[in-house]
Symmetry: C2
Subunit: 445 residues, 2 copies
């Protein structure tokens, strides 16, 4: 592409919003930042550390892993190749999982395992924008990758952390459905079917095409008998608490080592979760998760209050994703939170309250006869005591200064003395109380 080929656009187009690329006003950005801070605090409180991989990956890496039908944004230098430099094909990452896997594989000799990381970063997908879908969005992931088998401890801890994180930002209640791919695959193996991948793919459509659709596909595509299909569908409809589900599955009288392993893992996970959070975690045998790479426990969360809204958190255990890069065993487990999706939905529902337009706590105004330096020193003093302080930027009529404070919703107005050695005063913007105050000792009430 050359400079001259770029489209000419008019001035309205120059400032108009771009569909799928959200931007918030400052008062909402303040809330978004609080959310990011809270999430980070929760993740760090469990010993997860931040990484920030580059925004691009080789196109082949992005296409190989995960959903290859994701619409990927490729990048290329506008002015083209001017140094005979060969430009490889790079694209913006569409999730946090693939870059994390590549990062861990690339740095494995310098990382310590189990490696526990969180990532709160932008991702890009060239999807057609619609309710709950964005082309640029904040994604927020935690994952554990190990050089040894991942202990079941993490299968239970990861959703606990995720729920604590969602609660910390006031975005709950969530309903999280849990399953274990080993149960599904082990069950199919127990029925004598080895091509479990195709059954999983079809069962994953249960939500969309219903029992009849799935029956037809299982019968036509995989040529399964009516009895087998019946058992597969029986399994898929089981849901509830850990104990109930495990008993019902055992009652179906199908056996395999993998099924047994899956049931043991699920039992431990649900014991921990049900202790922690009664009712918000449910086992659901219809949850398979679309992505091919999951190999054990899988999670899927939705808003309890908006059950029709798409999944807002999802994840699970993947034994081969990371290791594939370096031909080693590096199993992992993790969960992903669609931060922008959650934020935009709650904003739309009027659940996000903007209470400030600035982080400023105190505005120091220019009063009659107080010199610039005195006002500046007052602001500096209050700032050195830990407050967020603006010195009003010019000597204007008080009315104009107070209007500024009012519009920006600044909670305190500070009045330096009008005469030498006079007292400072401070006004509470809400109650309109105004009192004498000492900038060395004043504290908000």
């Amino acid at each position: 592409m050359s400079k001259s080929e770029t489209k000419k656009i008019n001035s309205k187009e120059r400032i108009r919003s771009i569909s799928g690329f959200p931007e918030w006003l400052p008062e909402y950005r303040l809330v978004e930042l609080e959310w990011i801070d809270s999430l980070r605090r929760v993740f760090e409180s469990y010993g997860f550390t931040s990484i920030e991989p580059r925004s691009i990956e080789p196109v082949e890496v992005l296409l190989k892993q995960g959903d290859t039908d994701k619409e990927i944004y490729a990048i290329g230098r506008l002015l083209g190749d001017n140094d005979n430099e060969v430009e490889p094909s790079y694209a913006l990452h569409y999730d946090m999982t693939v870059p994390m896997a590549r990062y861990v594989a690339a740095n494995m000799n310098q990382l310590n395992f189990p490696f526990k990381r969180y990532q709160i970063q932008k991702a890009w997908r060239g999807e057609r924008p619609q309710d709950g879908r964005f082309r640029e969005f904040l994604q927020c992931d935690i994952d554990v990758v190990d050089t040894r088998p991942i202990p079941p401890h993490f299968d239970a801890e990861i959703p606990i952390i995720m729920h604590e994180a969602i609660e910390s930002i006031g975005a709950g209640p969530l309903t999280t459905k849990i399953n274990n791919r080993k149960i599904l695959e082990g069950f199919y193996l127990g029925l004598g079917i080895s091509d479990t991948t195709n059954i999983l793919r079809i069962i994953d459509k249960l939500d969309k095409i219903g029992t009849d659709g799935v029956t037809t596909m299982l019968s036509n595509e995989l040529e399964l008998s009516a009895t087998t299909i019946d058992k597969i569908l029986n399994l898929a409809t089981i849901k509830g608490s850990g104990e109930i589900v495990i008993n019902r599955i055992k009652g179906l009288d199908v056996k395999s080592d993998l099924l047994h392993e899956g049931l043991d893992e699920l039992k431990f996970v649900m014991q921990q979760l049900e202790k922690h959070k009664n009712g918000t975690f449910l086992v659901d045998m219809s949850i398979a998760r679309g992505l091919a790479y999951y190999t054990g426990t899988v999670y899927e969360s939705r808003f309890t209050d908006y059950p029709e809204f798409p999944t807002i958190c999802g994840g699970g255990r993947y034994d081969n994703l990371v290791g594939d890069f370096v031909n080693k065993k590096l199993p992992g487990i993790g969960i992903s939170i669609g931060l922008t999706r959650i934020f935009a939905k709650l904003m739309k529902e009027g659940k996000i309250k903007a209470t400030q337009k600035t982080p400023t706590e105190i505005l120091v105004v220019h009063t009659q006869n107080a010199p610039y330096d005195f006002i500046k020193n007052t602001a500096d003093l209050l700032r050195s005591r830990g407050f967020n302080v603006e010195q009003y930027h010019e000597d204007r009529k008080l009315k104009a200064q107070l209007k500024y404070a009012d519009e920006k919703m600044i909670p305190w107005i500070w009045f330096p003395p009008n005469k030498p050695n006079g007292p400072h005063e401070v006004k509470n913007s809400k109650t309109r109380d105004q009192n004498i105050a000492n900038p060395n000792t004043w504290l908000p009430d």
Copy 2:
């Protein structure tokens, strides 16, 4: 571009680093995050609020403003246009200024002025990577935009904030050179030259081509007389404290209203800065700043210890950049910090100390006879008291658990009791002191 055209790459290429796209190990990412937190704290303490514009802009917007020779990364959907949807030309932003200007213009009815914002965000430039230059980097800007003339207060406050920010991350000392375009342009006008833009462009090369080169260009291109060139070069070599510089310029006996205005502004700015920071702020008449949009005070900072290293902060006053979008007067002033450039340079110089590989403060280990739930409860209790706590993830030999803590540099190891009602103990990893401790009350010493 279609899927089939993407280059096939081997497994080494899949994980190799991409030149100009830096990534840090977790121990350095922890420091980078501390830096970001500190910068944010300083900016917010002066009442600047965060905005996070989208990562892309229409190509025409990016090309129109600022350095049009920046190598811009255009984006395009890999799978192309499958819905007959017209894909406009978008590209990743190369700085924070243009997106801020567009954001302010687009939202001006919902913002309150003077609008004071900070932005800490990624930017992309398709430059040939070299020392101090990156293709993906963190940039960190503060700006003020107003609907009225910007008061000189901000010309002084902005570099004070910037120095405080750089000090807060321990990246100083910096040397900041200050100038005012009004002085340069006003001086040229006083000499009877109205085409000041071309002189500025040539004077900006003084650093690179020296006095002789500049003399030749001024003489050949602009056909200026030897006397005039002499005066222009005389001005360009003046540097030092505010008072010295102002007196020397007055001594050159050139007069114009614009020059007078510039000197007044410079006087106020330097009075504030020299009070604040003796010696680290210097006036330098050779500083013109390349960008066309500056119209008043300009700033340029380098590492005092590495004077050959490229500029790490720069900025100034621009009267027309924002307003251009909406055909209104929206003057602004701001400064930009090259965070990745600073971080990478100090890392290379060994000045960034990594002291932790995880935010974890306490590792709760599995001891003999302590059940999983008891260990979990201990970890939860310490976590609820505000500590970052990992419960070791499986019941392994103590040696393996301590090795993990050691490798991740976790400062405290917590030992739950070996027998019911026995005491907890905690060990300081550095001093190796181990003492009885109560998880309800223990505090690190």
